[in-house]
Symmetry: C2
DNA sequence: CAGTTTTATGTAATCGATTGCACAAACGTT
DNA sequence: AACGTTTGTGCAATCGATTACATAAAACTG
């Protein structure tokens, strides 16, 4: 109050107890008697005391902060996940740090642990270099990492993700049910796990349905972006024999694709049905509104954050829950339609 | 290396100097001789030393972290700004904390300063309660706050923002140049500064151009969302006399609006021209692609972050630069067209 | 060359909380 | 009543860096 920030000493003085007691009253309430607890809480009120996080961190050797590592902060796809993460940490009095893997030296990620800036990490970037992950895995911090959304198959970090494989299957089955037999796919970034899983799902579904498996119907988008979709549209236009329906690695790809082929005179869904993946906010308002696979991104963030919290607190999960897959669901809209009779 | 994290003592031992010297060699390199500096840097290499942030913070009474306060982390609009902010802080070795104003008790914002979690704050939410801001302004932390994007006119915190007023004028002038005379507007959330500025711009432009100023052409959207736009579309459809062109408080409004009126049989731009605001990524791929006012969100983040850094370092800006307005620019696309002759 | 200033380094106090240990009071048990 | 537990509190060391102050060595000055 009077000039400086009050410290624990001041509270102790006001309450007429020792600093040890104040500390205990605040962080282990039932180590002190009811009477002193009230006394201390009262003194805290009076002084406006707030515990100094730096001092606390120093002594307890923990920072009460978690780092979320994103491949690209500017990518709106992640904001919703981040929101889920944040909601969990805020209620646990933890701070959420964010960083972008672009723009930082990769080895500086370990530094967050080394210099006590973060107690744990949620990695949303499947492209973190192997070398770093090995290093992390072998370090004492290995238990304080959770992957969310993307992951690295060759590492055993816990991971929370959507059922990408199943989602792709749903997309294909939906098109099949609408009568489509010539089904294509535009994939995301090469070497990305999501790309691979979704591709695997598409292939599995097609095999299951005894569909013609035409390599030419698969376009390598190279990214999850609008541009990738537009680019793919150009390849698409040049095909001699075109699929009547196409599944995409992401909503952005789907929209970029639709936008470009529309510009070139094709109509969705009349000429071709298109399914996206993600169900980003705009999907329902796109014209035509986009049939897509909905991922619950908030839940993904919440689960990852809760898991990490457990992990740090030493509450172990059964190995079976090491990988949590969240159900996805097809949302039928106007970008897909019954195949017109030839 | 050997088990525990090395501390400054270890480095001192290896280098054969005192801890004071190590500290100086690292944070004030030119306080020590070239020779010792090399010695220390070498020892740091050998030991793998990283300064413990908690200890440093405690002693220096600063956290080396900045808080970004968003109205809604889940809203993709902000991710790009955040990205700009992050890029600045990362290169300055500062950590970026993020928090959502929803879900936290408003008075706990002051706590970030009180308990030394953050050295400064970038507020992206114009709806932070007055009471809290007064409190902040009067506190010693008042100089460590910058508003970005949104702001509170009645407070004198520095602010970085887009030229919302000018943007709205450009939108109207663009429509005017295309022959439109009956121009409407769908506004964003009530009581929001951006809403007010953009509305003011629209009115100013119309007055300037001697346009018919019809209250009925102004629809209160109530939010910057897709839904608000769809809602507005329903009001629009019920009008007896409709404007031939409409400017929107945001791209999302514009898209929601277009989506809904398209569903109801109108055509954009044939029946009505629509201008958005923001130029979010999808705007160019929307169908029709959206004519809109581009805000440079990354730059906004970068400027706000740099300003705050200066502010904290005690580098004062001339009062004239207290408010920085970033130019915006109209991007003509396909959602606006020459007015068809009646 | 004696005296003064500058430069480089070390010693030890300090930041503010937490916690191991010691101890006194209160409670139980026979 | 005597002794063993349990409970509640205080003392003081501790976490790891920074920095005021002291001091020795080097550089300058006339």
């Amino acid at each position: 109050m009077n000039g400086k920030n009050p410290k624990i000493q001041d509270v102790a003085a006001v309450a007429g107890v020792s600093t040890a007691t104040v500390s205990r009253a605040l962080s282990n309430p039932d180590m002190v008697s009811q009477k002193t607890r009230d006394l201390v809480l009262d003194a805290v009120q009076k002084t406006g005391y707030r515990v100094n996080r730096a001092a606390k961190s120093l002594r307890k050797r923990q920072s009460d902060a978690i780092l979320a590592l994103l491949p690209d902060l500017g990518n709106p796809f992640f904001s919703q996940i981040l929101s889920g993460i944040e909601s969990v940490f805020t209620t646990s009095d933890l701070s959420l740090l964010v960083s972008d893997t672009k723009g930082i030296r990769q080895d500086s990620i370990l530094d967050y642990f080394m210099d006590m800036r973060a107690d744990g990490m949620i990695i949303l970037d499947g492209a973190v270099p192997r070398a770093l992950l090995s290093q992390l895995q072998d370090s004492p911090f290995g238990q304080r990492i959770v992957f969310a959304c993307e992951w690295k198959p060759e590492f055993k970090f816990p991971s929370v993700r959507s059922d990408n494989f199943g989602g792709a299957i749903q997309a294909v089955e939906h098109l099949y049910a609408l009568g489509h037999r010539k089904i294509g796919h535009i994939s995301g970034p090469r070497n990305n796990v999501l790309t691979k899983e979704r591709l695997r799902g598409v292939e599995a579904a097609m095999t299951n349905l005894n569909l013609l498996f035409n390599r030419d119907f698969f376009i390598d988008g190279g990214a999850f972006s609008l541009d990738a979709g537009a680019q793919a549209a150009r390849s698409f236009m040049e095909m001699d024999d075109r699929p009547t329906a196409i599944t995409c690695g992401s909503d952005l790809i789907a929209m970029g694709f639709i936008s470009e082929i529309t510009r070139r005179g094709l109509k969705v869904p009349e000429d071709i049905s298109v399914v996206g993946f993600d169900d980003i906010e705009i999907a329902g308002s796109f014209i035509p509104s986009l049939t897509t696979i909905r991922q619950n991104r908030t839940q993904l963030g919440v689960l990852a954050a809760s898991y990490l919290l457990d992990q740090i607190a030493g509450r172990v999960h059964p190995p079976a829950k090491q990988v949590q897959e969240i159900d996805v669901k097809l949302i039928p809209r106007q970008s897909t339609a019954q195949l017109a009779h030839a």
